[in-house]
Amino acid sequence: MTISIMVNTVERSFDVQPDEVLLDVLRREGYLEVKGSCHSGDCGACTVLLDGRPVASCLILSAKADGHAVTTVRGIGDQAHPHIIQESFVKNGAVQCGYCVPGAITSAKALLDENPDPTEEEIRLAMDSNYCRCTGYEQQVEAVLDAAAQLRKGDKK
């Protein structure tokens, strides 16, 4: 079947199998910034935004995304033009192996879009499904707090 998805603001159409999950379609189509890990919705590595809401792309049938907008971490920012959240992850030492980071940043983006001034507890809750085995989370939480503060400052300008 053919589906249409707006990926990172570009309209794309993909031939997919009815049982193919969004993660597999995105990676096959070259969106390799979406990382797979558990393939069972437990770890959050494959998180993307579906119409702005964070979802585990390993659990969503790609056909369910037909006609919807998907944002990957590359749609949030890239190496040449990193988003403040991405920059903040680097500056706060919040990245080690980095495998969980695209998913974690995507969840953080969804949170800050909705709540520009989250508490530490709200950050931990919003990103609770994003497992990280390297960092012990603290520096990632600090990175999101830092990014939120910078984004709020930016808004005031």
């Binding site: 992850f89 192996c97 085995r133 960092t135």
Partner: protein, 809 residues
């Protein structure tokens, strides 16, 4: 130096040379690529560059022990899209070990690519390569295997009993006594421990049992292979040990090393499990047989069931001392469960003693002995902490119980007996990694301060012994003390090459294997510091057996210290070559011996580097100390490459150290035990650490935080559950509970750094030590809160509740 912010304090003891790049929390060199999801991991590269590759899946054993009676692959082979099926019948029969360690290999050769026997639920039976993952999956179901099931050893306690089933009847080379299921054995004696125990005024003996647990890297083991245009087999692998991987695959498949290349891309976490050659042989062989690129990516379930785990250990710990608490005797016996194969069996067990007992060097009589036994259970292997984690579980809990028996404060008891600067321990020399060790004298330690600051941070004086109660919840505090090592002395070797570019920048290649730790970053910092340039002038490439020099790999807390030593030496050597050209250009004399002398890591730590009284590096220039004249390094490179007396300015240097300076740590924890449910909640965790000079404090903090998080998970929630035939029943991240963001308690890292004179820029290691504290510190806190000593881990609500009930009964 003193940095203080929430959750992180960095204090300093001792005096330091001023540095510009080292000691600063510079951005991780791969940071911006990683946060934007660049396709840099193994499967990303395979998907991008080889869209038409074959996908491999592994058929694993459903039984714990038995023989393969027959195996019929014809139906699977007939499935369209199936390209290759491998079994014991059509693969090389070489015996080897999957443990990626140095040479000669200390683990027994008890493994073959495939065998006629299966030895645990999850053991390899066959592998299928097909056009898609789905076809490979379907084909697995069409392989017909008939097993002749045999009785299995499912408990390490039974392994050595007479009549126990023998896991390796073929008597593998290097196994200690396979007829009694003993993969490895160790016994070292200093003095006469039994006599010392008998004569001690106070003695204590306890037995502790640790459990099966797993690394759970976010990226599972992944590897692919392809044939390059010249016919070379290239393996791209998520490995911690590219050179060991090449050596082992070369031997198993009988491919000359000139026809085999192993490339390490970015790695999605290792923690020890990727120090193992689990799929590299399969993808290489698949490519040889089909001529096509072949990939295998373990599923999460396979990662749990078939990859590697932490050796569960039963440890008998005895201590003898006088009434004032002065230790005289330490006796530790280890029964280590290595599972179906003896990967790291000897060396992990050795570390259980060698990385723990020297911490209490006042004991004059010490015995460490143990057996690592085969069972028909999942295979153990290297895991952050590498046996020391299990050793500290027993040692540090027993010391607290001894303190209670003596009526002493546990911190005071430790202070009386701990190793201090200027002291050694006979254990260092008696026990190395599976062979004799190397004598060590402690040259740097802030352990006394770590104990004081940790105690203060947790509120030890106010809280210890108070058992503050809130309804059915009661609080307690506990602590533990640790050391680890910095590489394996006189065994671990690292090398690095540096060459100068015409614009005054440098290309640094090294075997040091960045698996996400940030080693590319901190090693570039060391080079930048020596060469007097900013970070952007260093371009780093790590781990490619064709393109970078040798390194044993990322394990044994070796990278900062050992690989760092190689980078510092290479930077000094290339700098000296630059000085030589500068001398020519400035028409000044410079003794050629100073230029060609092998640089020492210790120079500028404790003694001045002799060449620096003639020239020094400053912002990309060479400055003559004698004349004050300056010449730019870029001008030097242009002259050397194009104009006068032309030559390449480059070097390769290696480092092997007789030293393995231990980092030290004191962990403190406050917990609350719910007496109704048995749940233990960690309210606050403090890790006070001395890792020498932290080359990059933010990355050091991250290493400690990650290790602490893994340690708390190991102590409280992470555990393999087994069915009746040794089958793991919770093989998913849903059922095997690692700490999530909300589970992680408020944690403070306190760095009290020292200057380690034998380390590159004063550094020691930090990767492993942080994982060792949670079990004993939390166990000791439970004891403080409830008076209950738990001798089995993890401290699950069920175990705590059962102990509370049996106490009140």
């Amino acid at each position: 130096m003193s940095i203080e912010r929430k959750g992180f304090r960095h204090l300093t003891e001792g005096s330091y040379p001023a540095t510009r790049v080292v000691g600063k929390s510079v951005d991780k060199v791969d940071g911006y690529a990683l946060v934007s999801g660049a396709p840099m991991y193994t499967d990303d590269i395979a998907a991008r560059d080889f869209p038409n590759r074959l996908h491999g899946r592994i058929l694993t054993s459903p039984i714990a022990n038995g023989a393969i009676d027959s195996i019929d692959t014809s139906a699977a082979e007939a499935l369209p899209g199936v390209r290759l099926i491998l079994t014991w019948k059509n693969t090389p029969r070489t015996f080897y070990t999957t443990a990626g360690q140095g040479w000669p290999e200390p683990s027994p050769y008890d493994n073959q690519m495939f065998t006629e026997r299966v030895r645990f639920v999850g053991d390899r039976v066959a592998a299928v390569f097909a056009d898609s993952k789905d076809i490979a999956e379907q084909a697995l179901r069409l392989v017909k295997v008939s097993f002749k099931e045999e009785p299995a050893v499912l408990d390490a306690d039974d392994a050595m009993k007479p009549g126990a089933p023998i896991v390796h009847p073929e008597d593998p080379k290097g196994a200690y006594d396979s007829a009694h299921n003993i993969a490895a054995h160790v016994d070292i004696n200093v003095g006469d421990v039994d006599k010392a125990l008998a004569e001690s005024e106070v003695t204590i003996s306890e037995t502790f049992q640790t459990h099966y647990a797993q690394h759970t890297p976010m990226e599972t083991h992944t590897a692919f292979a392809y044939t390059d245009d010249m016919g070379k087999i290239v393996i791209v692998s998520s490995t911690q040990v590219p050179w060991h991987a090449r050596r082992i695959v070369s031997r198993v498949l009988d491919i000359p090393m000139s026809k085999l290349r192993v490339v390490k891309p970015r790695i999605g976490g290792g923690y020890g499990t990727k120090q193992e050659i689990l799929i590299d042989d399969l993808v290489a062989y698949g490519t040889i047989k089909t001529g096509l690129p072949c990939e295998i990516e373990l599923t999460r379930k396979e990662e749990f069931v078939s990859a590697r785990t932490r050796h569960p250990m039963k440890i008998d710990m005895s201590i003898g001392c006088d009434k004032q608490g002065h230790f005289r005797a330490l006796k530790m016996y280890v029964l280590s469960n290595t599972g179906a194969y003896g990967s790291h069996s000897l060396t992990v067990m050795s570390n259980t003693g060698s990385k723990t007992l020297p911490l209490y060097n006042k004991a004059t009589d010490v015995r460490f002995f143990g057996d690592a036994v085969y069972t028909n259970l999942p295979v153990s292997g290297a895991y952050r902490g590498y046996g020391a984690t299990q050793g500290y579980a027993a040692l540090e809990c027993t010391i607290d119980d001894l303190a209670a028996k003596l009526g002493m404060d546990p911190i005071e008891l430790r202070k009386k007996n701990m190793i201090r600067v200027g002291e050694g321990s006979p254990i260092f020399e008696a026990l190395g990694e599976g062979r004799q060790g190397v004598a060590q004298t402690i040259k740097s330690s802030s352990l006394p301060t770590l104990l004081d600051l940790g105690a203060e941070a947790i509120g030890w004086q106010e809280k210890r012994g108070k058992r503050t109660r809130n309804g059915h919840k009661v609080r307690g505090v506990g602590m533990s003390m640790h050391m680890q090592g910095s590489g394996i002395p006189l065994i671990d070797m690292a090398s690095a090459s540096i060459k100068l570019n015409e614009d005054g920048s440098y290309f640094l290649t090294m075997g040091a294997t960045d698996i996400g730790t940030g080693s590319d970053t901190i090693l570039s910092q060391m080079a930048a510091e020596v060469l007097g340039v900013t970070m952007d002038k260093i371009s780093a490439l790590s781990s490619d057996t064709d393109l970078t020099p040798f390194d044993v790999g990322a394990y044994a807390s070796s990278t900062t210290f050992v690989s760092g030593g190689a980078v510092v030496k290479a930077a000094k050597a290339v700098r000296n070559q630059v000085f030589a050209v500068a001398a020519e250009m400035l028409h000044e004399d410079l003794d050629a011996n100073l230029v060609t002398a092998e640089p020492k890591v210790e120079w500028d730590n404790t003694q001045a580097d002799p060449i620096l009284s003639f020239y020094r590096m400053e912002d990309g220039n060479v400055v003559s100390v004698r004349s004050g004249k300056k010449v730019s390094v870029s001008d030097i490179a242009y002259r050397a490459y194009y104009e006068v007396n032309q030559r390449q300015i480059a070097t390769t240097q290696s480092f092997v150290s007789p030293y393995s300076p231990p980092p030290f740590a004191a962990h403190f924890v406050e917990i609350e035990v719910d007496e109704l449910t048995g749940k233990v909640e960690v309210l606050k965790y403090v890790a006070a650490v001395d890792c020498g000079v932290p080359i990059n404090p933010d990355l050091v903090r991250g290493q400690i935080m990650g290790a602490v998080a893994n340690g708390i998970g190991f102590a409280l929630t992470e555990e393999y559950h087994f069915g009746s035939h040794g089958n793991m029943t919770n093989s998913s991240l849903f059922d095997y509970k690692i700490l999530s963001r909300r589970d992680m308690p408020p944690t403070e890292v306190i760095l009290v750094d020292t200057y380690e004179p034998t380390g590159p820029w004063g550094a020691k290691s930090v990767a492993e030590i942080g994982i060792n504290g949670a079990i004993p510190a939390i166990g000791n806190a439970i004891f403080d809160a409830t008076g209950i000593r738990l001798h089995r881990t993890p401290y699950t609500p069920e175990r705590v509740l059962a102990a509370l009930r049996s106490k009140s009964a």
